[in-house]
Each structure stands twice: as C-alpha cells, then as structure tokens.
C-alpha cells in the first residue's frame, strides 16, 4: 500500500521469480519472430531457385543438426517447416516456444496486463491448432507473416500496457539479448554459406541472396538508404552488426540491454547488476574499436562465436545477480502426469553449445495439493 505520489523506486521490489520469467517471456517471443523471419526468407530464397543448402542452413543457424537429422535424412521445405513450426518434440519449434512463453506468462499473470495475457493466450491457441495444411509451400509465407504480426502485436500491447517498473527493464533485457543473439547467428551462418567463392564475387546470385538476408532482418530499405551504392557481403554484415540506428543490429541491441541494466542500477539502486554491466562494457568497447573489415580479417566466425559467448555470460551474470537460489534437491513429484508435462517444458540446458539457443531451466514445483481445486468436489445434495 504505497501512496501513488511516491517515486517508483520506493515501490515493491520485484519477486526474483517474476524477473526470471519476464526475461524468458521476452526471449521466447523474440525467438518466435526471428524463426518466422528466417523461414520466410529461406522460402523466398529457394523459390528464386538457388542453393540447395538453404534449408539446411536454417537448421545450422539454430545449431539443431543433431536433433533434426536424428529423425530426418533431408532438410527441405517440408521437413524444416514441420520441425520449426509444428514439431512439439522440438523445444525450438514455434509450437514449443509459444507453449513455454505462455507458461511464463501464466506465472507472470499477476504482473502483466490483462491485454498482454489475453493476446498471448489467443496466439497460443492459434499456434497450437496449426496443422500440416497450414505449412504447405503455398501457405508458408502467409503463415510466417501472421506469426511475425502476432509477435509484433505482443510487443505493441506490451509497450502500451506494461507497467514501467523493474519488470519492464527485465523485459527489455530479455528481448534485446535474444535479438542480439539472433542477429549474430544470422550473420554467422549466412556469411559463410554465402561467402563469395572466386568466380561468384559480385555476381547476380550473390546480390539477391544478400538482399534476402537483409530482408529477413527487415533491414533492406534501411540499408539501401544508408549504403545506396554497395551490396557487398562485408558491408551487409557490417550493417547488421555495427549500425547504431538499425533496430536489429547487434550494437543497438547491446545499447538497449545496457540501458535497462543501468536504469535498474540508478532508479532502483540495484547494484547487483554490476558484473553484467562490466561484461557489457567490455563487449561494447570491442565492437566500437573495430571496423567490419578488421573483424573479417581476424575471423568473423571466431568473433561472432565470442560475442555469443559474451551474451550467454551476460545472461548468466544477470541470473546470478537477480534470481539465483541454491536449489533444493529435487524430489520425485507425486503427480506423475504432471511431472511428464513439466519435463517437456524444461527442455535441455543448452548452455554448453555456443550456437544453441539458451533454454530456460524451470524449477517448477509440480506437487499437487489434492484438496485445493477450482471448486469444491461436492454435489449439492451429498
């Protein structure tokens, strides 16, 4: 019961569990959007009739080769779309991601707006109802567009209704950490699959493929405006990584994370974020100090690998600072059906892979209190 005129920072401290769920909600929604973008652009890519490796590169971007090829021999439009949109066994599919996003939103239901919750709930229902017929080649682009729009609706509602206290900054942190990570993956994979071999430099194929990479990040027109005379791979990579105004560039996403961490520190006196901020300073400094040509010269892949590692570390530092708890030893749950569904949600740790998507480890307590239900089990008369 705080009087409304008191400054924000005197308000209730955010529950650690809410902070964690907020970061993951934002990450998962951002990941869904990026997946839709990559599938959409690959679809366009292959339709212009070029490389046969394009669908395989989607699997590579997400470091999912092992899981994907365990059950499939070929990466083509049907198998990749199925794997990344419908497959509930794949923790990195949109169907799985919306499920964990919604579970996080359910956890956050006391904190987020009713409009945020309602939209997510409806989006979840829609995505979980998708079938093979929705991912037919003729439908795929339309589907990806709708998926992107649903994510953008989510951001719009969030921007317009989410209360601007600590929770908001954690949302920003999650969203931009994920976006930065996704951008580095896109550049990493595309740069090497499209790296011009001697004969092809400057050829038509190369140009159209790089413009497709830009389009997948919604960067094409911004790029043309800024660099009207060049579509060199290095320039495109430089734009996606180092441009300081493009909303999906690595540099810009880092600036947002840095801003949110700083706000938590100054507005709420949360000095615990210090380690994450230090790492962030180091990462940003190294980006400021180098041109794209220098980075490429020293090895783009190694550099992006290092960046992704740093992003993981920053996430870990934030987790350590704000929600680390010494976990109680897990005991077998009493409700076995529930335990199964929880393990489905938990997924793999994913932290050891440099390229693998970070996955949430949910410490859900799934013990059931048999006596507390929505309503008493009593009939009227008995």
């Amino acid at each position: 019961m705080h009087p409304v005129h008191e400054p924000l920072r005197r308000g209730q401290a955010l529950l650690s569990r809410y902070a964690e769920s907020t970061v993951w909600l934002a990450r998962y929604m951002e990941r869904i959007e990026n997946l839709a973008r990559i599938i959409d652009v690959t679809d366009t890519f292959t339709r212009t009739g070029t490389g046969e490796n394009d669908w395989r590169s989607v699997v590579q971007i997400n470091a999912d080769e092992e899981r994907f090829f365990a059950g499939r021999s070929e990466a083509d439009v049907a198998s990749v779309a199925e794997f990344y949109i419908l497959d509930r066994e794949n923790p990195n599919s949109i169907a799985s991601l919306i499920q964990v996003a919604r579970e996080n939103a359910r956890t956050l239901r006391p904190l987020i707006s009713t409009e945020m919750w309602t939209h997510l709930n409806m989006m979840h229902k829609w995505v979980r109802g998708l079938t093979r017929s929705d991912i037919r080649p003729s439908q795929l682009s339309t589907l990806c567009t709708r998926l992107k729009q649903e994510c953008q609706t989510h951001y719009g509602i969030t921007e317009g209704t989410f209360y601007r206290d600590q929770g908001w900054y954690f949302y920003v942190i999650g969203k931009y950490l994920e976006r930065g990570n996704q951008t580095t993956r896109l550049v990493d994979i595309k740069y090497h699959t499209l790296l011009p071999r001697d004969a092809e430099v400057g050829s038509q194929v190369d140009m159209s493929q790089w413009s497709a990479v830009l389009r997948s990040a919604a960067a094409y027109h911004a790029y043309r405006r800024m660099m009207p005379r060049s579509l060199a791979p290095a320039a495109v990579a430089g734009f996606l990584l180092l441009n300081n105004a493009f909303p999906r560039s690595l540099v810009l996403t880092l600036r947002q994370v840095n801003w949110a961490l700083s706000q938590l520190r100054t507005d709420y006196g949360l000095r615990r974020g210090g380690n994450a901020l230090e790492r962030m300073d180091e990462l940003r400094a190294s980006l400021a100090d180098q041109t794209i040509e220098e980075i490429i010269l020293r090895g783009l892949h190694e550099f992006l690998d290092w960046v992704q590692m740093q992003l993981h570390h920053i996430h870990d530092e934030i987790a350590e600072a704000f929600w680390a708890v010494i976990p109680a030893p897990a005991e077998p749950a009493s409700g076995t059906a529930i335990a199964a569904s929880a393990s489905q949600i938990i997924g793999g740790g994913g932290m050891s892979q440099t390229l693998g998507g970070m996955t949430q480890v949910i410490g859900v307590t799934n013990q059931i209190d048999p006596n507390d239900s929505t309503e008493p089990p009593e009939p009227i008369q008995t």
């Binding site: 409700g335 059906a337 008369q381």
Partner: protein
C-alpha cells in the same frame, strides 16, 4: 407463494416449475424488479441469447478464466460454464442470508478459539470429546496459539440451498480455503458486457470491493508494530487447478502472488526473495492446505510450503489466513452440531437452519435413519467429495441392506439428511430454457468484523434433474444479483 404466468416468449419451454423457482416464485409479494427482469427475459429471442452465450464462452477462453488440466503431452483449458440468466435475490432475501452467514462465521470463530484453548464446550458436554479431539482435522499444534483478533476463519464460504418452500438452509460450511469467489466477480463483468440490455437501469449491489476488503482484513491482522504491512498470496503455483483464482485475488488485492519457494524464514521471520534481496512479509493469504504449509510441522515431503513458517506465525511475526486447523469446524460431523454451537456461544437461535440432520451416534438419530433409509441421504462424516454416501431413493434394496449393516457397525461415522427438493432457476439448455437446480455460496471476510460479499457463487446443475453442481459433472454458474432495497 405467488406464481406468475411463465410459458411464453423465452420461457415457452419452461412450463410450470415443479420446485421452488428462483425467478417465478416469491415468498410474499413479488419484488417489482424481479418481475421487470422476467419481462425483459421473456422478450428475448432464444437464438439471440444463444449468440450472446457463445460470445461469453469464447471470451472466457480468451481471457483465460479457465482451469488447466494437464495430461502427459499437453494441457487443456476448461471453463466453468456460465449461464446467462441471472439468479436474483431480493434485498429481504439477502438480509436473511447475510445475517445468517455472519452469525455462523462468528460462532465458528468462537468455537475454534475455544477448542484450541480452554475447550469449555467439551467440558460442558455440548459436543462429544472424541468428535473434536479425534477428528483428523483437529490440529494439536494449534493448542494455545493466540491468533490475531481471535480470527481463525478470515475467508469463509457457506453452501446454502433453498427447499420447496423457498427457505434458505445451510448445507455445508467451507472454512479452510473456499474457492469460487473469482467467478462471482468475473460473472458480473461478463454479464455487464454481454447482456447490458438486461441490466440497464437496475439497482444491483456491486461485487467489486472484495479485493479491497480482503486486503484490509489481511492488513488488520498483521503484526501491530508494522505500519505498512506486506501482504502476499501463497499459491501452490501454475499447476494448481485454482491458479486462475489465485492470480485474480492477488491482482484484486494488489499483492504479490508467491509460491513456497519464493519465501524463506530466517530468525523466525518470513521474507520473500526479490531482485533486491530478501524483503519482509507480514501477512499471508494462503491457498495451500494445512498439510503442505510447513514441512517442519506437517507433511515433511511438502515442496509447496515454507520451512519454519508455523514457528514464525506462533511467535507473532507473521499472520496467516485462514489459520491452521479450521477444518475441524467445517467437518460434516461438526456440522450436525452447528445449531447447538451457535446457541452455546451466541445464545441465539440460528438465523439459517441446517438441513435437518440425524446424528447416528445418538440413539434416536440412528433409529430414525434405519427406519427411513430409503428416503434419506446418509453420509460418512470423515470423508469429503461425496465418497461412501448413499442416496436412499436412488439405491436398490440390496444396496440399502448392505448399507444398513455398515451403519449399525459404526453409527458414529454417519449422519443422515432428507433429500431436499432444491430450488431451481431458469437456465438456457439445449432444448430451450429449462428449470435447473441451483445452490448458493456466499463469501464472508472477517477481520475486525465480518463482511459478506453481496450475492455469492450460484452453481447450477446443467443436467436435467441433477443435483450435482460441480463442473466435472455438468455444473455451471450464474451471475447472482442482490437487489438494492
């Protein structure tokens, strides 16, 4: 009882109700507002009402006013079906219910204080000792613990039915963690959205102050030296079927919804884990059963509770609502004695009668039950959820005979009641508007004093002739209107 011509318009298929009808019948002169609502309803087109009902149902799903059923691979959201035709209580009817509920809750709280302190009621022989002390819901850990304001049951739900004369009768007390209040409030919001033309201009008592009242009651019992107490709602988490309600109440109270793992007890004080470190907690509205609350005191395998919580409570560093050990007051065995309990503590006659109950541990009650088994409902006292009972009129001769010997072997384990002709309310069914049985659960909040939310949860048995209102067996709910005087 005055009747009203019913069989026209929307009520074409309704016929003349066989039971007391909540909207057609009245005790004494009919309230003009009830007549007005009935006329408005009658003018409704059935298809139009169905369209509104589908819209309401879709909205319940979209808003996530659901309980989630988890299976191995997936989760399914279910709603509590919402019948659009409201259940109406006049100011005079509500006055009886409200006074009756306050009286009952007051007596229950005094009873609990007594049995966990001096046990005068046992010494005076009003209740059999073993009925209380041997009850599985009696918590010896509570002996001598002075709960703030003497309140054990801060939130109480009283299940009330009406018989064929329209009399209100208490069927059951719910003094542990009664649920359903979120539906009372959400049903009203839904009603205002989908049937604004039915509600227009009527003076109906609001239901929106529940959260504020609950927050006030929680703050009132927090340790006295704390000027600005931190209240939290303790939930078992998102896998609990009532999680929606927990969220709803946390939001209405404006307090954090915490799980056991968010709380920690240090030096007999309760803290929650926040991004700024541990922050003190002073009052807990818990939606977790006694068993799970504190592994130090109750079930040692509980992962849902908080180690040391009861100790912190005992030392007065935190308040907990409802108190531990209230289950002994809403037990079926105790229920039978509730009129005597009210008389004993308040020296008043009950304002709301019990359903007539025969106590089989008493010779008269047993004999009457044995003689009239085929017309009675017989319930074991220790059980809940309708286990082990027999409904005489629905049982075969063999079943009755078998039950008779069970009863004779252990009479103290049983009570019996007549089958009540429950009141009905017009309800939109597949074949038009039909009469369906309803009950009523008003919710009472007790802090410094007891306040009853106007109305309560009206549950309706959607199956024809069914007396079962729970949603897994075809039960739904209705918006409950209390008219202003």
């Amino acid at each position: 009882m005055s009747g009203a011509a019913s069989g026209s318009g929307l009520f074409q298929s309704y016929g003349n109700p066989r039971f007391f009808c909540e909207i057609m019948n009245a005790i004494g002169p009919e309230d003009p507002t009830v007549a007005l609502v009935r006329d408005r309803l009658r003018a409704f087109d059935e298809d139009e009402l169905r369209r509104r009902a589908s819209a309401a149902e879709a909205e319940l799903y979209n808003l996530g006013i659901t309980f989630t059923v988890y299976s191995e691979r997936d989760s399914i959201d279910r709603i509590l079906p919402f019948d659009l035709i409201p259940r109406i209580l006049t100011a005079a009817e509500w006055d009886v219910v409200e006074r009756g509920v306050v009286q009952r809750v007051t007596a229950i709280n005094q009873f609990l204080w007594d049995i966990y302190h001096d046990q005068k009621i046992l010494k005076d022989g009003v209740l059999p000792r073993d009925l209380v002390l041997g009850n599985s819901n009696f918590r010896p850990e509570m002996m001598g613990l002075d709960v703030p304001l003497g309140v054990y049951v801060h939130v109480n739900g009283t299940d009330i039915v009406r018989d064929d004369q329209g009399r209100f009768l208490v069927l059951e007390d719910n003094a542990r963690t009664p649920s359903g209040v979120s539906y009372v409030i959400e049903n009203r919001h839904m009603m205002l959205r989908v049937l604004p033309d039915l509600v227009a201009g009527l003076r109906i008592r609001g239901v929106d102050e529940y959260g504020v009242r609950l927050q006030q009651a929680m703050a009132a019992m927090a340790p006295e030296h704390v000027p600005d107490p931190q209240v939290v709602l303790l939930s078992p988490g998102i896998y609990n079927a009532a999680y929606f309600e927990h969220v709803f109440l946390a939001r209405e109270m404006g307090v954090p919804l915490v799980e056991g793992r968010d709380l920690v007890v240090e030096d007999a004080r309760v803290y929650m884990r926040t991004i700024a470190g541990l922050r003190p907690v002073h009052a807990i509205y818990r939606r977790l059963n006694d068993d799970f609350l504190d592994p130090d005191v109750f079930r040692p395998d509980s992962q849902l509770g908080v180690r040391g919580l009861v100790d912190a409570w005992r030392r007065g560093n935190v308040a907990i609502a409802n108190a531990v050990g209230t289950g002994v007051a809403d037990d079926k065995a105790i229920y039978a004695y509730m009129p005597r309990i009210i008389k004993y503590y308040l020296d008043q006659d009950p304002i709301l009668d019990n359903v007539q109950t025969n106590i089989c541990r008493e010779a008269d009650g047993l004999q009457y039950t044995l003689d009239n088994l085929e017309t009675l409902v017989v319930k074991p006292v220790g059980e809940s959820g309708g286990y082990g009972l027999i409904i005489g009129p629905h049982a075969s001769k063999t079943e009755l005979d078998a039950f008779r010997s069970k009863l004779k072997a252990d009479p103290a384990n049983y009570i019996s009641q007549p089958v009540i002709n429950l009141s009905t309310a017009p309800t939109l069914c597949e074949d038009g508007v039909q009469a369906r049985h309803v009950d009523l659960r008003p919710f009472a909040i007790t802090g410094q004093s007891t306040w009853v939310l106007p109305g309560g949860l009206s549950r309706v048995a959607l199956k024809k002739g069914s007396l079962v209102v729970n949603s897994s067996q075809g039960g739904g709910s209705k918006d409950t209107w209390v008219l202003q005087s």
